[in-house]
Symmetry: C2
Subunit: 443 residues, 2 copies
């Protein structure tokens, strides 16, 4: 590999990760924080995301936000913030010769925010949230709806941006309290990837985050069991297409079954030759697109299959998806197909050498929760999975009881959809004695 | 710059463009064809896009599409096709050591397609088209609606995918005729960018496209004048947000006014410090996002400003957008702001050295229509624009008569929106004697 990774811990507890790629002409600066909607309650829901927005309202050192943003943009950057369910990050591409500008500004934003303009920002967030609801304010976002029923009563069920009610009621005190608790050295990883030098990144980070107080990493309540399926949650929304997601509870990345799930994901959806696009789109023309992905937290994981189709075809598309999934539980994946999944996994990691963003996420983002493995180690883990092992893991997770379907669309075709999900044709019964699939975080 | 570009014309007339970036670990293969919806009629509308889909149904050399796709995916690729209004392209990332696999397959696809499975593919396309319409089949896509009224009676007004009616009626003969006419050597540019060698790309292209018949580049009817504004086209659609686009007819990339328009675009929207995001989002919290972009054909261009907001705020957002635009016509852009726009333009081109996709588009895609300029030449053109020149160009194009607004949303707030567009407050009158803005393709 043409990059070198470094990791150091400053006396404050702040972790600094550098990925040196001297062959590239860019750099990516990213600061990861272990705080998101799963560190909230029903009442404080949305506070992590609200706080993320307020950081962009200026800091003590940069009270004028036009100047703050302009300084970063002047050196090829674009300040950005993202909040997820279990973490947040602040990042910018940046000209490698001007890394200090970006680090100084993000450092000031995150250690001395002014937290002003709360009311203007509240309006912006309420506006942003409209994307996830219908014209009557009801949830229509597949991801929000899925998490809500997969993790009942747990903070992972909360929406990242919060609810209209919680955001309307959030106070300055609540936001300040959240900031003081979570933006501490032990809860943050500073990362630079690209044409940068670790010694310089380390020195600059120490200076830029000198004001960051010491403090521990956030802790999270373990996720609950998902209620046994097969279950269907349907939301009526009169759009031209019905969208749906099949959720199977899986495991986190470090679990011993995860590499086999990575292969299962690739066999299902990794290019036009993979099974779902071929069977659903190309062969039968049932939907315009279908996708499978793995969603992982440090203590839980999901295999998600998503598609959209004309309402009257939705039940057929789900039936076909289940049939394709069932073949993984019944038959061994062929040698060529298995070899291709492994080869692509390794090759795409090789391509990531040219992407500061992917390198920062792998080595910096992961560091929030655990020590990231090398590309080669991960590729070796995937390579070591046999066809028998893949089938064993498919049977463990892709069973009837572990299926939760969420659909949003017209009522047309709903009865058929209900029947298909209730039958879950072809899927195996869960393993005795208890469904292993819902026990996350064993690795 | 750390890349070298090469261009050769094979005896058949096929152009081969290579961008060698020996520092990267990937390659991007792209074949550009000068055919899209502007080469169609009302009756044949959608034929370019339909044909693009059918290429993926296999070729004489690769009748089994799973094998065809698998062969490309095996070497890190993903076959993709895109159809636009004035061209189409077929591309895949690929491991640089296996370029030949990708070229051979795309070459076979585009010279010996089987054009089978028309009916399955028709269903897929009709499904795909649902995205652009409401549940009653009416157009709700801002881009389609805009082009429809900006280029009345001209093929640029046609939708890329066609209409439900035209796609339902397209015959195999029509598709074959379109293929024979447009997929000829003089109408195609083969491009490879990444860790590749031009001598090899040339040799491989010659072999892979040996069956490509000679033939000329497509020709296009010049675009018509846009009817004088200010005009508003509104479509009722009961979503939570009202979306709208302000269109100003501009000029193509090679026009002498284009570099000033590039600066205008960056001053309006190029990071959080730029004027539209600051005024609309950050300062007033009127919308969650707003963007400005340039859309260019070889003989026409557009400056587009797009936003989405709560329905009752739509008129206010449009008013503010117009106010921000008006300042560009009234006042000189400040020195710092102008310098930042130029500097960012040059720096982001520098970053493109690491992106095979951007390099292929710049040097290969442009080649379909004209000789692409170097990064430095383009950056010099932008650098040479003075503040006075930018204001002069703003006045020429951002005037009342040149404004066409398209909005999709709830009826709530419509009256106010109509008033604002009719008044177009702050915008200058068009220059005497005739609005220069609507005369495209002068460069």
């Amino acid at each position: 590999m043409s990059f070198t990774t470094y990791r150091d811990v400053l006396p404050s507890g702040l972790r600094v990760v550098t990925v040196e790629t001297p062959h590239l002409h860019t750099a990516l600066l990213a600061v990861y924080v272990r705080t998101g909607s799963r560190h909230e309650t029903l009442v404080s829901n949305g506070v992590s995301h609200y706080l993320e927005h307020l950081f962009f309202r200026g800091s003590e050192g940069w009270p004028d936000t036009v100047k703050m943003n302009a300084a970063v943009e002047e050196v090829g950057g674009n300040l950005n913030g993202v909040t997820t369910r279990d973490h947040g990050y602040y990042y910018t591409p940046i000209h490698p010769a001007h890394l200090r500008v970006g680090l100084d500004i993000i450092g000031d934003m995150l250690t001395r925010p002014r937290l002003t303009d709360m009311e203007v920002e509240r309006q912006i967030i309420l506006e942003e949230m409209l994307d996830e609801v219908d014209e009557k304010g009801r949830d229509i976002d597949l991801d929000n709806l899925s998490k809500h029923i997969l993790f009942p009563g747990h903070p992972l069920a909360l929406k990242i941006a919060g609810t209209r009610e919680s955001v309307t009621n959030l106070t300055h005190d609540q936001i300040l309290k959240h900031f003081v608790q979570h933006y501490v050295a032990g809860n943050i990883v500073v990362t630079a990837a690209g044409r940068v030098k670790h010694s310089e990144v380390l020195e600059m980070s120490e200076r830029a985050f000198a004001r960051l107080p010491k403090g521990p990493a956030s802790i999270e309540a373990p996720p609950p069991l998902t209620p046994p399926g097969p279950r269907l949650h349907f939301v009526n929304h009169d759009e031209s297409q019905t969208e749906f997601r099949l959720n199977f509870r899986g495991v986190p990345e470090q679990h011993e079954d995860y590499p086999a799930l990575q292969i299962i994901r690739r066999v299902l959806d990794d290019g036009l030759s993979s099974r779902l696009p071929f069977e659903i789109v190309e062969k039968r023309g049932l939907a315009y697109s279908v996708s499978a992905s793995l969603d992982a937290y440090h203590d839980a994981g999901l295999l998600e299959i998503e598609a959209a189709s004309a309402p009257e075809k939705a039940a057929t598309v789900v039936t076909e998806c289940l049939r394709v999934i069932a073949t993984l539980c019944d038959d061994l994946v062929g040698d060529e197909e298995l070899a291709r999944a492994k080869r692509r996994h390794r090759m795409l990691l090789e391509f990531s050498q040219d992407s500061p963003g992917e390198l920062a996420g792998w080595f910096g983002g992961t560091e929030l929760f655990r020590t990231p493995e090398s590309f080669n180690h991960r590729a070796d883990l995937v390579d070591s999975q046999s066809a028998a092992r893949v089938r064993e893991v498919a049977r463990r997770y892709l069973n009837r009881e572990n299926l939760t379907v969420v659909a949003v669309g017209q009522r047309k075709g709903l009865k058929a959809l209900e029947r298909v999900v209730a039958e879950a044709p072809g899927l195996p019964a869960p393993e005795a004695p208890a469904p292993a699939a819902v026990n996350g975080g064993r690795g």
